[in-house]
Symmetry: C2
Subunit: 613 residues, 2 copies
C-alpha cells in the first residue's frame, strides 16, 4: 500500500466511499439491484462483445484480432471501478473473484514499457501515440480510476501497480515535453490527480497540468474528431483557447466535464487564480445558461454538446447520461474548491434526475440520450456499440457514498441527505454519523452524532437550493439563529455522543418556470418536489396527451406509492374546479412501463384572475 | 322561541356558532382573553361614555341629555352580540347578568310605536326619519343582530322581542313604500335578512330588498355624509347606481361590505340573476384589484374607502378594521351562495391578518386603521370617539364558530381549520365532528367523524388557496384521486364512527409579489406562511431598518415560540452566504412590543444569477 499524501492547499476533503455505508430506502436497494443486474449485465456484455478477450488477446493468452471500437478497454475499466464501489455496500466474493480474473488479463496485456491499450497492441502496434484522437489516455485514465477504487475497496493493488506502470510510461513519453499532445477525450487529467492524491508523487500532478496547458495552442493540427462523424474542430474539443481564456461553455459535453474536473482539482491543489476564475466563469456559463432542469447538459446530437446559450430544446435534448454524471463529478469538485452549497445543489439536481434517468429501474437498460420530452419512440437499450453510458452508470451509481460528506479543518459538511452510517476522520479522531431520512420523498432528516474523542467542531448542513423554508433542531430543541456559511447551516458546538441534529425541510410541490429566452419552454411549466423533477407520461395521462396543461391555480396531491416504479411519490394534479387532470411521476423513472409520450415541461394556464395584492 | 323557517333556494346553510365549541390553541385562548379584557373594557367604555346611560335616559330611568355621537347605540348592541357569541365557548354568569341589565334598559328605551334610537328620542324626537344620514337603521340593524345572537346563545328573547317590535315599526314607516329612503350606512339590510332567517316572516325579506332597491335612483338628494367631514357624494354611499348596475367597487368600504352582505343573502334566497352577477362582478373588482394582502380594503382616509383600481399604498393604507371584518362577513355569504372555496380563502385571509390586527394581544387596545407599514407612530388605542372598530372586534372575534362549517343537502363543507368539537344537523341526523390541528402554525389537520344515524354523505374540505400541495388520508390510508368541487376536496363515502380524515397541507414560507400596477410595492416582496402574512418590526430588525431587504435566494427558518407574542411562528430570514438578516412576525401581532417602524412589503433583491432552466 502507498501512503496517502496530505496534499497542500486543499481546505476540503472528500470522505471516501469506503467509510460510508448506505442504509436508505432510495439508494441502498438501488445499489443492490445495480450489482445484481447492471454489473452483471455489463460484465456479460463486455465478455460477449470481446472487450475482455481483447486483453487476453493482447497478452497472448488468446488468439485473435481486436474486436470492437478502439476505446472499448475503457468500458472494462469502468465496470471494475463500479464493482469496487459496489463491494462496500454489497460485499460479493463472486464478483470480486471475476474481477480479479479480469485484472489478471489486463495486467497481462500490458506491454513491457508499461503501454496498455489493446487496440494499438493488437491492431496498430506501430501507430502508438500518433493520433491524438485515438483515446489512448482516455482508456488509461479510466484504468487509473478503476485501479485506485479497487485498491481502496479490496486492498488489492495488482491493478494499481499496472496503472502506475502505465502512467510512468506516459511520463516517459510526455514528461520531458518531448512532443505536444492534446488528449482527444479528456479523462487522464483527472485520473492523474486522483493518482497524485492517492500516492503523493507530484509527477502525476505535473503531467496532468501539462496535458491541461497543452490545449488551446493549435497543437491538435487537424482538430477533427475521428469518432462517429461528430462535428469536430477545436471548439468541439475545448482546444480553441487555453483554459484560462475560455469564457463560454462550448463543444462536447462529456469532454468539457472531465476537463473541468481536472482543472478544478488543480485549482484546489495549487490555488491558481487563473484556473479558479476560469472555473467560476464556466460554471456560471454552464449552470445559468446551458443546463436543463434535470441537470442534463449538451442539447445537440450533432456534437454531443453545447451550441449557444439558452438553446435548450426539450424533444431533441441530447443530455448524454455521461454528461450528467460529469456534472456530478465537476460540481463535487467545485464544492471541494469553494465549500459552497450551490455546487452541491447542482450535483444533487443531476443525481436525482439526469443521471439516474440513464438506467432502467431494473438496472439492465440504459439511455445514452435523455430528452425532456418524447413522442413515444425513445427507449432504453441494453447496450450500445459506444457503450460509455452503460458503463458510466455501472461505475457511478455505487459511488454515491463519495458525495455525501466532505471534511474541513474545522468539521464536517453534509452535502447530501441519504440515510447512512459513516465514519469520518476529523482532527485525528473518528466521528461517527448516522443519518436517517426518507429523503427524497420526505424532508425530515435526523443526523446522530458520535464525536469520538473530539469535543467542539463544526457540523455544516446544506440548506438545499430547492428548499425555501425549514426548521432546525438539536436534541429536539429548536435552534433560533443558526449561522449560515455559503449555503450551509453551521452548528459549532460541543458535541456529545447521541446528539441528534434534526432538519425539517418544507417540501411542497413547486411550479418551475423557464428562462424567458428558452424558446421551447415558452408558456410552459415544470413541477418539482424536493430535488426530484417530475414528468408526465402518456400511460398515466392518456386523454388528449398533446393538450395537457397545468391550471393556473392547480392543486397537487402527493402520494408515496411503494408498489409503483420501485417506490415513488406520485403527484396528482387537480383542477380546483374539477377532478384529477394529470398524474406526474419522477422524471428519472419514465419509460419503465408501457411505451408512450412523455413531457417534463407542459403548458401552463395563465389567468388574469390570479390573486395579486 | 320562534320556529326557524326552512328558507327556500338556499343550497348551503351556516352551521351556527351554538353548535361549535372551539378547542384550539389559537382561537380558544383568544376568545377567553377576549371575554376577560375586550368585552369587559367595551362594557366599561360604554358605561363611561354614556352609551349605556343614554338608554336609561331615553327610558326615563335616568335624567340627562344624550351623550356622544348619534350612532352610539350601535356600540352597545355590538358588545351584546359579542357577549352572546362569547358565552358559548366561555359561559359566564356575571356577563350574562350584566347583559340582561343592559337589555332591560334598551327595552325600556323603546318608544311605544317601536321606535328605538336614543339620540332622536333624547335630542331630536321630532326629527325622526328626516335625515337619511342619521344612522337610525344602522343602529336598528345592530340591535337586531345582537338580539338574534343573544336569543340563540341564551334562549332569552327579551331583546329579540324589542328588535322585532322596532322592525315592525320600520315596516309601518317604510313597508307601504310611503316614502323613499336611502339608509345612510347600510346594515339594516343584512339584519333584516338575519331576522327573516330566524323567524321566517317574508316581510323582513321584503323590507330588506326594498332598502336595497332604493339606492341609486337619486333619492338621497344631498348625497352628503354628515359624519366627520368625510368626502361624501352618492358614490361614497354606493348610491350612484342601482346595485345591478354597479361595476367597480367604490366609496366607503364598510358601507359597501354591509350592503353586499345583504345583496348576497338576497341573491341566495331569491336566486335573482341580477344580484348574483352584480356580486360576482363586484367581488372580482374588490378582491383582484382593490384588496391588500392582509385582506384589508379601502386605501383612503379621505372617504374611509376605495379610490381607483390598484391604488394600494402601504404606509397610508386605511384598511379600517371594520372593513376587514366586513370582508369576512361578505365572503362568508358569497361562499354560502356559490359554495366555492375561493371565498373562504378571502375570508381566512382577512381573518388571520387584517381583522385580528385590529386588536392587541391583550385584547384591550384597537386599531381603527391598519396600515401595511408604519413610521413608528401608529399605535392601538383603548377607545375611539367613533368606536365602531373596538365594538366590531368585540362582536366579531367570538363569532368565529359561525364560519367553520356549512352544510348542503349532500353533506358538510369544512371552510376553516380550527380545532373544535361540533354538532352538525344534516339530513335529519346529528353528525359530530372533532377537528384537531395546530393550524395556522402547522398544516396537519385531523377530522374525526361520528356520522350518527347517517351512512353516506359528502365531506368537503377546503383546499386552502395559499396551499399548492398536500396529502390526504382517511383512517391513515392515502386517498389517491379525491374529487374536487369548486376548490373543495370531496369525499363521498359511508362514514363509520371514528373515521378520521387527515389533511397534511404543505406549509412552506412563500414569497409573494404584488401586482405590477401596485406602485408602492414595486420591487418588493411580502412573506406568508399558511394563511398568516408576516411583517418586519424595527424591534426585531434594528440594524438599518429602512434598508432591509430579502435576498433573492433567501432561506427561511421557521420557529414556533410559545413565549413570544402569545405564541407565534417566527420566521428568520437568512442570507445563504451570511447570517440572520431579518426576523419576521405575523402581521396581526405587530405593535405589541416596543414602538417602532414596521413593514409588510420590503425590498427584494433581484439577481440575474437566479437559477433558470
Amino acid at each position: 500500500m502507498f501512503n496517502k499524501k496530505n496534499t497542500k492547499n486543499e481546505k476540503l476533503k472528500c470522505v471516501p466511499f469506503t467509510n460510508v455505508k448506505l442504509t436508505d430506502e432510495f439508494w441502498a436497494p438501488r445499489l443492490q439491484k445495480h450489482q445484481e443486474t447492471t454489473i452483471k449485465s455489463c460484465i456479460k456484455q463486455c465478455e460477449n462483445t470481446g472487450r475482455i478477450s481483447n486483453f487476453a488477446k493482447a497478452s497472448g493468452l488468446e488468439e485473435g484480432e481486436f474486436e470492437g471500437i478502439l476505446f472499448n478497454d475503457s468500458d472494462v475499466y469502468k465496470v471494475i471501478e463500479g464493482i469496487a464501489y459496489s463491494l462496500i455496500n454489497n460485499p460479493n466474493a463472486h464478483f470480486e473473484k471475476i474481477t480479479d480474473q479480469i485484472i489478471d488479463k489486463i495486467s497481462a496485456a500490458q506491454e513491457i514499457d508499461g503501454y496498455l491499450d489493446t487496440y494499438f497492441t493488437l491492431a496498430k502496434p506501430e501507430d502508438r501515440w500518433t493520433d491524438m484522437m485515438a483515446h489512448e489516455t482516455y482508456c488509461g485514465g479510466h484504468l487509473a480510476e478503476a485501479a485506485i477504487a479497487y485498491s481502496n475497496s479490496t486492498g488489492k493493488n495488482k491493478l494499481l501497480d499496472t496503472a502506475i506502470k502505465m502512467i510512468d510510461h506516459y511520463i516517459d513519453v510526455f514528461g520531458g515535453q518531448q512532443k505536444h499532445w492534446i488528449t482527444g477525450h479528456q479523462e487522464i487529467e483527472l485520473a492523474l490527480i486522483k493518482l497524485y492524491r492517492e500516492i503523493g508523487d507530484e509527477k502525476y500532478l505535473k503531467l496532468s497540468k501539462w496535458f491541461i496547458e497543452q490545449r488551446g495552442h493549435g497543437y491538435n493540427f487537424t482538430g477533427i474528431s475521428w469518432d462517429r462523424g461528430l462535428m469536430g474542430g477545436p471548439e468541439y474539443n475545448q482546444d480553441d483557447k487555453p483554459i484560462r481564456e475560455l469564457i463560454d461553455i462550448r463543444g462536447h459535453a462529456v469532454r468539457a466535464m472531465y476537463y473541468f474536473c481536472a482543472v478544478t482539482d488543480l485549482a484546489d491543489l495549487t490555488g491558481d487564480e487563473g484556473y479558479i476564475k476560469a472555473m467560476d466563469r464556466l460554471w456560471e456559463s454552464t449552470v445559468l445558461k446551458n443546463m436543463y432542469i434535470t441537470g442534463g447538459i449538451g442539447p445537440s446530437k450533432s456534437n454531443e454538446g453545447f451550441t449557444h446559450d439558452y438553446d435548450l430544446p426539450d424533444n431533441t435534448a441530447y443530455c448524454e447520461t455521461c454528461a450528467s454524471v460529469g456534472m456530478v463529478l465537476w460540481n463535487h469538485r467545485m464544492n471541494l474548491l469553494h465549500g459552497d452549497s450551490k455546487y452541491a445543489d447542482i450535483m444533487e439536481r443531476a443525481l436525482y434526475n439526469g443521471v439516474i434517468s440513464g438506467v432502467s429501474l431494473e438496472g439492465d437498460k440504459y439511455f445514452y440520450v435523455n430528452p425532456l420530452s418524447s413522442d413515444g419512440t425513445h427507449h432504453r437499450e441494453q447496450w450500445y456499440d459506444v457503450s460509455c453510458c452503460p458503463t458510466q452508470i455501472a461505475r457511478f451509481i455505487p459511488s454515491i457514498g463519495n458525495y455525501i460528506y466532505t471534511v474541513s479543518d474545522k468539521g464536517i459538511l453534509v452535502n447530501l441527505y441519504i440515510a447512512s452510517k459513516s465514519t469520518i476522520h476529523l482532527q485525528g479522531s473518528e466521528v461517527n454519523l448516522i443519518q436517517t431520512s426518507r429523503y427524497p420523498w420526505e424532508g425530515l432528516v435526523n443526523i446522530k452524532v458520535d464525536p469520538g474523542t473530539l469535543n467542539e467542531f463544526e457540523m455544516k448542513m446544506r440548506f438545499p437550493g430547492w428548499c425555501r423554508s425549514m426548521q432546525l433542531f438539536v436534541n429536539d430543541l429548536i435552534i433560533e439563529n443558526p449561522v449560515f456559511e455559503k449555503g450551509y447551516i453551521k452548528l459549532l458546538r460541543e458535541w456529545r455522543k447521541g446528539d441528534i441534529v434534526t432538519l425539517k425541510f418544507d417540501m411542497p410541490v413547486e411550479k418551475i418556470n423557464s428562462h424567458p429566452r428558452v424558446i421551447s419552454n415558452k408558456g410552459k411549466t415544470a413541477i418539482q418536489r424536493g430535488p426530484v423533477v417530475y414528468c408526465f407520461e402518456e400511460t398515466d395521462n392518456k386523454d388528449d396527451f398533446e393538450n395537457i396543461y397545468i391550471p393556473y391555480n392547480a392543486k397537487f396531491f402527493t402520494e408515496y406509492k411503494e408498489q409503483v416504479l420501485g417506490g415513488v411519490t406520485v403527484i396528482n394534479v387537480m383542477h380546483p374546479e374539477g377532478n384529477l387532470i394529470l398524474k406526474a411521476i419522477p422524471y428519472y423513472a419514465w419509460d419503465n412501463r408501457e411505451p408512450g409520450r412523455m413531457s417534463v415541461w407542459i403548458k401552463e394556464e395563465r389567468n388574469h384572475n390570479t390573486l395579486y395584492f
